[in-house]
């Protein structure tokens, strides 16, 4: 139980962290924060 729950927690936070730390793309993407118009 502990193994499964710890692994799932670790994997979840790993992917979330990776997504949030991924470098922003040089060209504008769909996120409005990065749009030229904003």
């Amino acid at each position: 139980m502990v193994l499964v729950q710890t692994s799932v927690t670790a994997i979840s936070f790993y992917f979330l962290h990776k997504a949030l730390k991924a470098p922003k793309r040089p060209e504008p993407d769909s996120y409005l924060d990065n749009d030229d118009e904003e």
Binding site: I11, S12, A19, A22, S30, Y31, D35
Partner: protein, 554 residues
């Protein structure tokens, strides 16, 4: 082709991930998963569950995200014309109707559950359950769901109380849907999902430290850790039972909201170069965290801590959430019981509304894309449609309309649509083209073997789930059914099979009225007719939209 919308989009990456996770995290994470685990091998259930997640869940997440982003390039944000953009044949768009139909059909009864949680938050705050016996708390639910014009028969003195709260939830959903994506759904997800995790963690910690302090006199199996052990104790013999594998695959379907059309819709608001591979993993695993870590640590341990393991084994069902949990919270004193009630029903409400908002988006986007309706008009249309088709689930709740909607819209349709989309993506659109879509702009390296999995394994998995539902044997006993079949005694078709349901083989006599009153069969067929009308109506809208496209082309 519809005009490509430039005004709507996700504000931030975290907003998109939380909205997708909020779409997936639902009532099933806290109620369905622990019950399924208990009934299917405890700790051993996690093995087929994780296998199904890896071989069916993750591939379908990537496929749906990829299809959505692909359709978005052509200005389509709902499945009829997303599917249509992937192949020239005309029938795909009508199969894409499932991606709107399912959402309206499910939202119709899902918003009703959502409204219960809202009402129960209020009751927890005002201390309604303090001093009530376990039976009184259970009876309270029956009183709440009874439609009455007399204020004396309601729980808050509001006439037609369940309808009042149902409409309130619909208005709330409609209002949020009428905002831009980044100002409505995204904002709700950014506040709601973290709050839900905090609420779940609070209750899980309380359940963990409850141990046997809540045991009633003479109870020998009241200890919250017994509940945790029971849930996670591996019964490996269950792994050879196809029933367990089908249950695990079914749970993956429900928990990830795949086969619904909501993921396509959210992903359609991305741009061509945006990542989908990592976003999908992040949102998918966040859902798994809420389900496996939090969902498994609240209801069962708490109920076992107070009422004992035997009681939970006999009474494990969805109803514990409303008919038992308030009774347990009331033991914590006035302040803590109110806090626990807010946390429990609050988290269920958040889980519900983040999912129902996702269910509203495909129809709203369809009307915006194909009929040029504005946001507000499209959102109101969703609210009205859900009200019309949902009212029978409220009015005839105890007659089985609710369950019938859940079976056809919330179960069968998901599998049919998932099977459709995986065939379209892997075999018609083509796996090479599809793989390029999944890996384009990816912020992680997608393992190559998933190309094989998506083309061969996932369709086979889905086909097995569909056939499993189609010919479910008597008592869901597959091992016995195979032996009977091998012995030449035919297939012992069970009452819960799709075939039995379609032909009413599960009903002894086909009687629609008895002593002048409608029978349960009447209400069941009424629900089916309503769902058929809903499907036909959406298909008609798709037909009109496709004619408009043709006129624009010529």
């Amino acid at each position: 082709m519809a005009a490509v919308q430039k005004t709507q989009g996700w504000g931030t990456r975290i907003g998109l991930i939380l909205a997708m996770a909020g779409n997936a995290v639902g009532l099933g994470n806290f109620l369905r998963f622990p019950m399924q685990a208990v009934q299917n091998g405890g700790g051993a259930f996690i093995i087929p569950y994780l296998v199904a997640f890896v071989l069916m869940g993750i591939p379908l997440l990537w496929v749906e995200w990829a299809m959505g982003r692909y359709g978005g390039k052509f200005g389509h944000h709902s499945t009829p014309f997303i599917l249509d953009s992937m192949d020239k044949r005309k029938f795909w768009k009508y199969l894409g109707v499932f991606g709107i139909f399912t959402n309206i059909g499910v939202a119709a009864y899902y918003c009703y559950i959502e409204s219960w949680t809202l009402a129960y938050v209020i009751h927890s705050i005002i201390g309604t359950f303090n001093g009530m016996s376990q039976q009184e708390v259970a009876d309270f639910f029956a009183k709440y769901t009874t439609i009455s014009l007399s204020v004396n028969d309601t729980t808050l003195g509001i006439p037609l109380e369940p309808i009042f709260f149902y409409v309130l939830c619909l208005v709330l959903n409609t209002y949020i849907l009428a905002q831009d994506l980044n100002k409505g759904i995204e904002k709700v997800a950014k506040i709601g999902v973290p709050l839900l995790i905090v609420f779940g963690a609070m209750l899980a910690v309380k359940a963990f430290f409850l141990k046997d302090t809540g045991a009633y006199e003479g109870c020998t199996d009241c200890h919250s850790w017994l509940g945790i052990n029971f849930l996670w104790e591996p019964r490996f013999e269950s792994l050879s039972d196809p029933k367990v594998w089908l249950a695990a695959a079914g749970q993956i379907f429900f928990t990830l909201s795949i086969g619904m059309g909501t993921i396509h819709c959210y992903a359609a608001y991305l741009k061509e170069k945006d990542d989908i591979a990592l976003n999908a993993m992040s949102a998918g695993w966040m859902n798994e965290f809420v389900e496996i870590v939090l969902g498994a640590s609240v209801v069962v341990p708490l109920a076992v801590g107070y009422l004992g393991l035997d009681w939970v084994k006999e009474n494990a069902s969805f109803s514990i959430a409303f008919q038992t949990m308030p009774y347990l919270f009331a033991k914590w004193g006035t302040f803590l019981s109110a806090l626990a009630g807010i946390a429990w029903f609050g988290l269920l409400f958040i889980a519900g509304i983040t999912s129902s908002l996702a269910m509203g988006t495909p129809l709203k986007s369809f009307m915006e894309d194909e009929f040029n309706w504005d946001l507000r008009k499209s959102a109101i249309f969703f609210g009205v449609l859900v009200f019309i088709f949902g009212l029978p689930t409220v009015l005839f709740f105890e007659h089985g309309v609710f369950d019938e909607y859940d079976y056809w819209a919330g179960t069968v349709s998901l599998v049919i649509f998932a099977l459709t989309e995986i065939i379209l993506f892997s075999w018609v659109f083509g796996i090479d083209k599809g793989w390029k879509e999944i890996t384009s702009g990816a912020d992680i390296e997608v393992p190559d073997f998933y190309k094989f999995v998506i083309k061969y394994i996932t369709p086979v998995f889905l086909l097995a789930v569909f056939l499993g539902a189609l010919i479910t044997p008597e008592n869901n006993d597959w091992l016995n059914a195979f032996s009977e079949f091998k012995a030449g005694n035919g297939w012992p078709l069970g009452d819960s099979s799709l075939i039995a349901k379609v032909f009413h083989l599960d009903v002894e006599e086909l009687i629609y009225f008895e002593n002048g009153s409608p029978t349960k069969l009447f209400y069941i067929d009424l629900a089916r007719i309503l769902l058929l009308i809903l499907f036909g109506f959406i298909a008609f809208l798709v037909y009109i939209a496709s004619r408009k496209h043709k006129k624009q082309t010529f």
